[in-house]
């Protein structure tokens, strides 16, 4: 069924409009971050980058960065490992409780994150654990490791099980098969899952809110300042956090591209 030219153009315009709307608030924050005035009003009369300087010098912001970074890195590594095996159980092997497992993994993703965070706080309290950034890692994992699993599972669905069977028939042990066949085949999925895990953890607010105890992550601090006691540092710290994500994203895309280029030269040989 052919679509008329005008309908096609209208749809494309609609797409452009949607993207514009998605980015409009980020543009506003960008403008606000370079406004010189302490109390912001648009249109901005004088531009200055002094808030960036102040943000980078501030020891509070540095602490926030370290906390966010530590949480995100730990979450990334653990999600990659858990997600790798989880994806095999999700997509690759036919085992008895696969259906239950698939559904159980989806449940945390559907749950309200603030409630998940609170439930974890009560649980830590019952166990006698004092919340800190380490407990926030556990909280992030509940939500992020299922997502990592799903991302790797998409890759696991696409690969040919006979490759593993062939290796096994030729006498390879389960461990060798994992290391030589399954691992390399799923590797691109694992890398993109790791990238997702880092970025989602870096920007997450509702899970951190109740589970970081005395520590605070960047999004938590931003929220606290937005709701009460506004600081002119908010827009610049926000933009710094976004820039970090984008740099990481570009880095991840380059890594993915290198992996693909390498596997192509390998298979061409």
């Amino acid at each position: 069924m052919k679509m008329s030219r005008s309908a096609r153009i209208a749809l494309t315009l609609y797409g452009v409009l949607a993207i514009f709307f998605l980015y409009l608030p980020i543009i506003s924050v960008g403008f606000a971050s370079v406004s010189k005035a302490r109390y912001l009003t648009f249109p901005i009369k004088r531009y200055a980058t002094k808030w960036y300087g102040k943000a980078i010098e501030s020891s509070t912001v540095q602490d926030l960065l370290w906390t966010s970074l530590s949480v995100a890195l730990l979450v990334t590594v653990i999600s990659m490992v858990v997600g790798f095996f989880g994806a095999l159980a999700f997509a690759r092997y036919q085992w008895r409780f696969r259906g239950v497992f698939q559904k159980l993994i989806l449940l945390p993703i559907f749950f309200p994150q603030a409630v998940l965070g609170l439930a974890l706080l009560l649980w830590f309290n019952a166990l006698g654990i004092i919340p800190s950034w380490k407990t926030a890692v556990v909280a992030h994992l509940v939500w992020i490791s299922p997502i990592a699993t799903l991302i790797i599972a998409i890759r696991a669905y696409g690969f040919d099980p006979s490759l593993e069977e062939a290796a096994r028939d030729m006498g390879a042990s389960t461990w060798t098969v994992m290391k030589e066949i399954t691992g390399p085949l799923l590797w691109p999925g694992v890398v993109s899952a790791g990238l997702f895990a880092f970025l989602l953890s870096w920007g997450n607010f509702p899970l951190s809110l109740f589970t970081t105890g005395a520590d605070s992550t960047l999004p938590e601090w931003l929220y606290a300042k937005m709701v009460s006691g506004y600081s002119p540092l908010v827009p610049s710290v926000g933009i710094l956090s976004i820039v970090t994500s984008i740099v990481l994203l570009l880095f991840g895309v380059i890594v993915m591209w290198l992996i693909r280029a390498r596997s192509e030269t390998l298979s061409a040989r």
Binding site: M1, R8, L11, F42, G86, L104, F110, W123, P206
Partner: protein, 285 residues
Amino acid sequence: MERQDQRIGLLSALPMGVVLLISFLAPMLVIAVFSVMPQKVFSLLHIPDFSSYKLVFTQGYIKSVLWSFGMAMASTVVLFVICWPLAFGMAKVFKGFGIFITIAVVVTLFVSENIRLFGWVLTLMKGGLIEGHLRAWTGLTFEGVLYNTPVIVFGLVYAYFPFMLFPLIQGIAMVPDDARQAAADLGATRRQIFFEVDLPLSAPGIVIGSLLSFVLAAGAMAESKLLGGQTVIVIADEIETAFTYGQNWPLGSALSIILILVIGALSIFGINRVNLDLIMGGRRT
């Protein structure tokens, strides 16, 4: 080979299973037990009296529950309407441009929700990006559009846009072009094709998309706090207040349990309706 699959499957599920057991199922159990404890206790070693649930139903907390679900429902409907044309374009019409949109939408997901909503405050407030420039250029002005219910729904629509869009794209991609073509050849109108071919055949995507956006919106808090000011207190807000200022953990737990029950029932219903292997791109069923 069969036995091997059974064993390795179970072993590979173990790490994820442990994570879910100690950090999802156990906390849910704790919150359920807390919800039946007497008021304002901080340990689980008391005799249950279910007083929190009585409070929930007598102290007007139901209003917050209804507000949350009402706004979640409204935003889901709006999301469906605005996402459908775009999802259709991305699944069936656009080529390179579709990939561009996908990347552009995914990137916004990595920007903390707070920052994006704060951006909307800056955009919409009096003296903000829109009103400020309008006044500077034309002299016209309007009162701020913030701090009311519609703007909260707008915030929910904005925040959960990707969660409706991507499942819808998956769903629409599952509608075979031949089916649409055949219906058109047999004289079906556009309306009929939409209602009798597109909608039923893309149902799995619609179910997942609507479910995700409803559930996330029902448990959301930042939208009503940042954009809505204090006009509406949503359920997640009440839960937070009960735990922090109120220092009443059992009440907060009871409110959480009500939210969890509704959301859990909906999720399980929805997840059971769709074939996960098929949606994720698997070949075997």
